[in-house]
């Protein structure tokens, strides 16, 4: 039994309840025992007291899309190093994508990951189970056994299932277990050899483009199948204005469909590629500024449910290539919150909206009781200085890989303390 912990003099921001008020939170046995808003607080005997000094106290972030290198590519990232990066970024739980070696398509691997993460990672690691064996899009995995082992959702990670019939079967079977299908949207034929958004900029660079329809066509298909099967369906990440329109229509008829947005598509556009900068080569490509504005509007209006880091560690060898031959992906756990706060500072999106998409919405979709500041919820909390200025330096990041899409970016807002189950796992040093 650990000492109770009282965090007082905080600005308590809880998107789930819409709270934004001065207050205090009492933590006991890894859970939120009590919260006091506005009024005075009694300090239980023997409690450790943290004076938040007016900083924002928010639920820890729940990141729905993180790739690790472990198992298989530990030199890129281990569960431990991903956990360090997550803690530094205020991410207290993340969904781990199944694209590892071996892939996560079996209950035994899920079980291994949960044990391994408990032993080595500072934050909650939530494995996603593969939808198809080997993530190859051909045969179903054992959804029920993986769920029993602890898989929080089903996903083929960066793979997109091409066969409409296979996807229908998977959705229908997932509905059986009430599991959420999280699906990456990419029509393989339309993506072809494309390496960035299709348009003038790709033409000028002499690079092959990926049309927006490579996303919108599978999205429209998936949403129809979701309605047909009744599955809980989450579009892993959308990037185009067309996707927002399609989702808006579908969501008005089907409450069981949701959609995610990568921090990269929220904050960056295709122009950031500049002259072949491979850290900006992403499997859901950076789109035009018009598309970015559309996804921001989607976030404001609730068409977009969640924001995630799409943390994808890649070694420098894979990135130090001609653009078309370089690997996809960028790390993002440590910059997720600060980058998202750009939209708050620019007054494009309210703080509660941003935080909701980073905490309670993903928790709801995954069926977690975290992501909120409420009595009985896990004490996964962050203290944030919303205005703290800092510059991203790849050498100071805790991830084992350096491929940040925010290299040298000036950001405002930093996590000062991260608490997981009542224990401080990260403390910012001045």
């Amino acid at each position: 039994m650990t000492r109770p912990l009282l965090i007082e003099n905080a600005r308590v921001v809880d998107p789930a309840s819409g709270t934004d008020k001065r207050g205090a939170v009492l933590v006991e046995n890894g859970r939120i025992a009590d919260l006091a808003l506005g009024g005075p607080v009694g300090v239980p005997e023997g409690a450790e007291v943290i004076d938040a000094g007016g900083l924002v106290l928010a639920p820890g972030l729940v990141d729905m899309r993180v790739f690790t290198g472990e198992p298989g590519w530990e030199y890129r990232e281990t569960l431990a190093s991903a956990g360090e990066a997550a803690a530094a970024g205020g991410v207290t739980s993340f969904v781990m994508m199944p694209d590892t070696l071996p892939v996560v398509d079996d209950g035994a691997v899920v079980d291994f990951l949960i044990r391994r993460a408990k032993a080595t990672a500072k934050v909650n690691v939530l494995p996603a189970g593969g939808i198809t064996k080997g993530l190859a899009g051909k045969e179903l995995t054992e959804f029920g056994l993986m769920e029993e082992a602890g898989a929080v959702c089903l996903s083929d990670g960066r793979h997109s299932i091409q066969s409409t019939a296979m996807l229908r079967t998977a959705m229908s079977y997932a509905a059986n277990f009430d599991m959420t299908i999280v699906h990456h949207l990419a029509d393989a034929g339309l993506v072809g050899d494309g390496v960035m958004n299709e348009g003038l900029f790709a033409t000028v660079l002499g690079l092959k483009g990926i049309p927006r329809e490579a996303e919108t066509i599978p999205l429209a298909r998936d949403l129809q199948l979701a309605a047909l099967t009744g599955v809980r369906y989450h579009a892993a990440q959308v990037s185009t204005a067309g996707s927002i329109d399609i989702l808006k229509a579908a969501k008005s008829r089907n409450a069981r469909v949701t959609a995610g947005l990568s921090i990269n598509n929220l904050c960056l556009n295709e122009n950031d590629i500049g002259r072949y900068r491979t850290y900006f080569k992403l499997a859901t490509p950076l789109r035009s500024e018009d598309d970015r504005q559309a996804v921001i509007e989607g976030l404001r209006s609730g068409v977009i449910d969640t924001i995630h880091s799409d943390h994808d560690p890649q070694d420098s060898e894979g990135k130090r290539q001609p653009f078309a031959e370089a690997t996809d992906g960028a790390i993002g756990l440590e910059t997720l919150l600060a980058a998202a706060l750009r939209l708050v500072h620019s007054e494009e999106v309210p703080l509660l909206t941003i935080l909701k998409a980073l905490t309670s919405r993903p928790a709801d979709i995954l069926g977690l009781d975290s992501g909120r500041i409420a009595r009985g919820a896990p004490a996964d909390l962050i203290l944030v200085d919303l205005d703290y200025p800092w510059q991203v330096s790849e050498t100071e990041l805790k991830s084992r890989s350096r491929n940040t899409s925010f290299e040298n970016a000036r950001l405002a807002g930093k996590v000062m303390r991260t608490i997981v189950a009542g224990e401080t796992v990260f403390l910012h040093n001045e």
Binding site: A202, T203, L207, R275, Y276, F323
Partner: protein
């Protein structure tokens, strides 16, 4: 701003060329393009005299690094370097698809240690030459990178046009064929656009890249309409593998609608010139009678290629001594 010299003389008459590399026409200001054309003009007589030598680069080392084979371009750069007195080394790098990039950066480091003065590089990936230029300490000339750019081709095309038409500004140039996959088209559109030449692209929609209307003055899918009253026609090579039903149904259909023959060429101005960057596919994109006919300036292009490459090498390397 230094005055551009118009009198004949040695390359030393020109003000120093301010670019370290030649990667992209997009990096050049209009006056720099004109400067390179003027320098090239001065190199033409060197190749026509009996002793074809202007040893401004003696003691310099030029490495031609071709990741993608090209006998024509490589020979042109080799002859250009040798006529300027440079030591020229040709390296053809065989690439397997898995290790291309690795070979690129590794090769760059290895070659850099041999202290060359200039690397002339061709690679199948857009941006590869730019990447390599960041890893070496010498001048780099792009001899073609994927579908991105081929700057010396655009310069030699412009020089050829200027010598035949005595001007560039105010002309209308049509570029026909596989625009989507052509670095020659991109470099030419950028160069001609910078010098106020009206540009048209003519191709079936499948071979037009997104946003092309921002790069060319006009876009046509009908060849006869596109060729109306043009001063210059540039034909592009159609890769055979694109005419196998994947992009274009067949060579014969392509030739019927987009091959340059006398009937289509009749829509252009009477004094039109016909160009092709080579190697040509006679009977695919061009009628042999046109390729070898009186309007064709294709062999002039090859000659101007040597002059332009001499001028580029000289401009990039003579700046070292200044």
């Amino acid at each position: 701003m230094p005055q551009l010299s118009s009198s004949a003389g040695q390359s030393g008459d020109f003000p120093p060329f301010r670019q370290r590399h030649l990667i992209s026409i997009a990096d050049l200001k209009p006056h720099e393009i004109i400067d390179l054309l003027d320098r090239s003009e001065r190199m033409v007589p060197v190749s026509r005299q009996e002793r074809k030598s202007l040893p401004t680069l003696s003691g310099k080392t030029q490495i031609n690094l071709f990741f993608e084979p090209s006998t024509r371009t490589q020979s042109s750069f080799e002859i250009a370097g040798k006529r300027l007195g440079a030591l020229v080394v040709n390296m053809s790098v065989k690439t397997s698809s898995v290790s291309k990039g690795e070979t690129l950066v590794d090769t760059a480091a290895t070659l850099n240690a041999m202290r060359p003065d200039v690397l002339v590089v061709r690679h199948s990936a857009a941006g590869a030459v730019e990447l390599l230029s960041q890893k070496v300490g010498c001048a780099v000339v792009n001899a073609g990178d994927g579908a991105h750019e081929h700057p010396t081709q655009a310069l030699l095309d412009a020089l050829t046009i200027r010598r035949h038409k005595d001007r560039l500004s105010g002309l209308t140039v049509a570029i026909c064929g596989d625009i989507a996959n052509s670095r020659v088209a991109r470099s030419n559109l950028l160069l001609l656009g910078a010098l106020n030449v009206r540009t048209r692209v003519i191709a079936p929609r499948n071979l037009l890249p997104a946003g092309i209307e921002n790069l060319a003055t006009e876009v046509f899918t009908d060849m006869e309409a596109g060729l109306k009253d043009v001063d210059v026609v540039m034909m592009l090579r159609l890769q055979h593998e694109r005419a196998n039903g994947k992009m274009i149904p067949s060579v014969r259909e392509y030739y019927r609608f987009y091959g340059l023959d006398a009937a289509k060429l009749a829509h252009a101005k009477p004094d039109v010139i016909v160009m092709h960057p080579g190697p040509m596919n006679r009977g695919v994109e061009i009628d042999p009678a046109i390729a070898d006919g009186s309007r064709s300036v294709i062999t002039d292009q090859v000659e101007m290629g040597v002059a332009v490459r001499m001028a580029v090498l000289d401009a990039l390397l003579s700046g070292d001594d200044a």
